[in-house]
Amino acid sequence: MTKLTTARMKELASKHAIVLVLAGLVLFTGLFESSFFSTDNLGNILRISSIRIIIALGVGGVLITRGTDLSAGHTAGLCACIAASLMQRADYATKMFPHLPYLPVVVAIAAALAVGLLVGLFNGLVVAFLRVPPFITTLGTMVIVMGVAGLYVDRPPQGAIPIGGLRDDFTSLGTGSWGPFPTVIVIAAMMIFLYWLMLNWMRLGKNTYAIGGNPEAAKVSGVNVSWNLVIVYMLGGVSYAVAGVLLAARSGGATNNYGNMYELDAIAAAVIGGVSTAGGIGTVSGMLTGVLIFQVMDNGLSSLGVSPYWQLIAKGIIIISAVAIDIRKYNSRK
């Protein structure tokens, strides 16, 4: 066994600082709020985190390429609407498509994934081939997706209608369990595993880090930069679609406001988890830790009775501090 010298402990601490922060946060909250450690509460934190980590994975992948994806939240929202609209009970009064026959759940999921994939493809093509900066591209896409979602649920003259009355076989995706584990957590775990495989064991992942780390060198090395970018944005789109389906299933409905601002939470979580906005750096475990930190904070501060407005202020300060520290770490290595 390696001896734990002070230097080594320091090195470990700085390497895993973010995990320590999470542990500290958990202990702190647990000390002040005994119900924090109840199975119910912990399960709840994980369930809510599940959807967020799925979006954070998609955004995180894009961040590693030196990009960003502002369309993530609203894409998830659009996909939630699409899945939900296909899964309404036959007897529901304000059904969106009154004459829609009974469809298997798989069809709703496939439709949502296809839409997510298309949005990602669009982002990727614009960024890779038209060379529009990712921030602008995905800002535009976000606005377009908001419009599309609005059109989709708009039923003049009543206006936009919330989609309710979802079938139990669909909502069980969000509320049910596989064996002892809640389904959402299982699906999130699968997505985490897939992204981990992609980033660590596949050519696509290696190229993704290379493109983010030094795009010029990647080009010289014969990496197909453009198509790799397109695929990473497409994977992002698929992740948001998965999150969207789960959002609809868990809440038993959807509106065109679903997913609003989720992309900002995802970017914040990824950055807190050590994904560099300068590209080329980031891990799946970091993204997961980032998401959990925000969730534990939300949960802990709420149960301590801290005003939600103060919570927002705290969150903002944490995001800025994390990046300030991250940039110093990077500079010191130069």
Binding site: L197, W201, M202, R203, L204, K206, N207, Y209, A210, G213, N214, E216, A217, A218, K219, V220, S221, G222, V223, N224, S276, G280, I281, R333
Partner: protein, 525 residues
């Protein structure tokens, strides 16, 4: 003298040819290199002082010390008889020292006059509010241009101007600081003959007004046409300062290179075989780049490419590798005519390129040695369709870093923690894994310490012996002569000759690198 601080001091009938600027015993070291060693420079008032030397002789470093960009480790700078210290470029400008860089960086989406007066716009005060006085700015600019006989609209957008116009603007800007000394770094590198004449007109005018011009250039004819004094540097040391009238091209070249081949090179045992690459009439699609380059490369041969900065050697090899466009010309590889439009196709044609800028286009600083080595060749490490065979990768990386003697704690160390020489070896390993026939090495030993250089030479010699064909760009004369079988020399985008390294001398290569005209005459006879 009571005119201290007078703006047009330099213009007021100075004592002719007195010493204006003296740099005494300037030394400057960077980690691992002594860039300047006790260099002195004495510039007379109202003179054009040429500064010459090979690439890396220390000309730019010396000028950066004078312009406040670098701080010398030792020595002193005396201007007008008074010692000065320059902490930054602002102070240099305040002392009347201006520099026009080789690469111009104007603000494109602003007008000419806004570029000239940037940071010191004339203002009118309205109580607490200051408003930019555009009328005064326009008048001042017009006066400045009239004085220098520059034909340029002060309100034109820089975006729309040609390089030569931008340069006129930069000169006017330098003059507008009421400069006593103006440094011009390769000012003619992107100018046509007529534009050069115009520039010389401005320079002569400034000279009569007592301004001293320090003129860095590699072009012999220009130096002999415009310079009064010539200072020659070599390897960070001063060779001497001579009146231009006493110099000839031959004398300058002799003093620029005048050193023996003392560096050691490995014994080469490569035997060039059949032709693997043939290039005919290759012309760049870029403006003012290379044109009409033809050569052959044989199996197991080391072809050096020599030339000075601006000879467009990197542009040539980057075009071969598909990173830049080609307008005309043909390329045959192993007897088959081929078109390469991107690095992916270059790799398929079994070419490899080690770029000149290791940090910019070589390494992935945030990735490990392992990832840096495999990145160009991941397709060969797939097990099935998508997953990488890590074990095979680790084994191959291990074999290569041992063969190239990369000094690294492990292959999972971040590459940026290695020394420059070891980083370079990792990039060589990266390309060796793609099993290339032709390796293009652009300045392979730049920024590498002497010991590691020899190891890189040994690797190059060994690769050639094993039948790889090598193209090696180098700005170091001994390296070119010591390593190459043949040397292709370029000058200002044109090929000026291919010489057998055994018969070549430094003087011969320098002549080719500086005067394609001479070569044309020689061939005509």
């Amino acid at each position: 003298m009571n005119d201290e601080g007078s703006p047009y001091r330099a213009n007021q009938a100075p004592e002719a040819h007195s010493s204006l600027l003296e740099m005494r015993g300037i030394s400057k070291s960077f980690p691992g290199v002594k860039a300047l060693d006790q260099v002195s420079l004495n510039v007379r008032r109202g003179s054009v002082h040429a500064l010459m030397g090979e690439n890396g002789a220390g000309k730019s470093t010396l000028m950066k010390c004078l312009f406040g960009i670098y701080h010398p480790d030792g020595g002193e700078i005396v201007l007008d008889g008074k010692p000065i210290t320059l902490r930054d470029t602002r102070q240099a400008l305040d002392h009347g020292i201006a520099m026009i860089h080789q690469e111009l960086h104007p603000i494109p989406h602003r007008s000419v006059m806004e570029n000239i007066w940037l940071g010191r716009y004339p203002v009118r005060n309205f109580g607490l509010v200051k408003i930019i006085d555009r009328k005064k700015m326009l008048r001042d600019t017009q006066a400045l241009f009239a004085d220098l006989r520059i034909d340029l609209d002060p309100e034109a957008w820089v975006f729309d101007l040609s390089v030569s116009k931008i340069q006129s603007m930069e000169i006017a800007k330098a003059v507008s600081y009421r400069s006593k000394v103006i440094i011009m770094d390769e000012p003619t590198s992107s100018l046509t003959g007529r534009e050069v004449e115009h520039l010389f007109g401005i320079i002569r005018k400034l000279r009569t007004e007592g301004v001293a011009i320090i003129y860095i250039s590699h072009k012999m004819e220009e130096i002999l046409a415009i310079a009064d004094d010539v200072t020659i540097m070599r390897d960070g040391k001063l060779v001497g300062t001579y009146p231009a009238a006493e110099l000839t091209t031959g004398l300058i070249i002799n003093r620029m290179v005048g050193r023996d081949l003392t560096s050691r090179f490995p014994v080469k045992a490569n035997v060039p075989g059949e032709t693997v690459l043939r290039v005919e009439g290759l012309t760049s699609s870029e403006h003012m780049s290379f044109s009409d380059v033809s050569f052959e490369l044989r199996k197991g041969e080391i072809l050096g490419i020599g030339g000075l900065v601006g000879a467009k050697r990197s542009e040539l090899v980057e075009s071969l590798f598909g990173l830049r466009g080609i307008k005309t010309g043909r390329i045959w590889i192993r007897g088959k005519q081929i078109a390469i439009s991107n690095p992916i196709e270059a790799k398929k044609a079994r070419l490899a390129l080690l770029t000149e800028d290791r940090r910019g286009t070589g390494i992935f600083p945030a990735l490990s040695v392992f990832d840096n080595t495999l990145i160009a060749n991941l397709g060969h490490y797939l097990r099935g369709l998508v997953f990488l065979d890590r074990a095979r990768g680790v084994a191959d990386v291990k074999r290569n870093i041992e063969m190239l003697r990369v000094k690294t704690p492990s292959q999972h160390t971040f590459i940026e923690n290695l020394s420059g020489g070891n980083q370079q070896k990792v990039i060589v390993a990266r390309w060796l894994l793609t099993d290339p026939d032709i390796l293009i090495l652009d300045e392979p030993t730049r920024g590498i310490d002497v010991g590691a250089k020899f190891e890189i030479y040994a690797i190059i010699a060994d690769l050639a012996k094993r039948g790889k064909s090598i193209i090696m760009i180098s700005s170091e004369m001994p390296e070119l002569l010591g390593m190459s079988d043949r040397i292709l020399v370029m000058c200002e985008g044109r090929m000026t000759g291919i010489v057998d390294a055994k018969e070549a001398t430094q003087e011969r290569i320098m002549t080719l690198a500086t005067q394609f005209k001479l070569q044309a005459q020689a061939q005509a006879q």
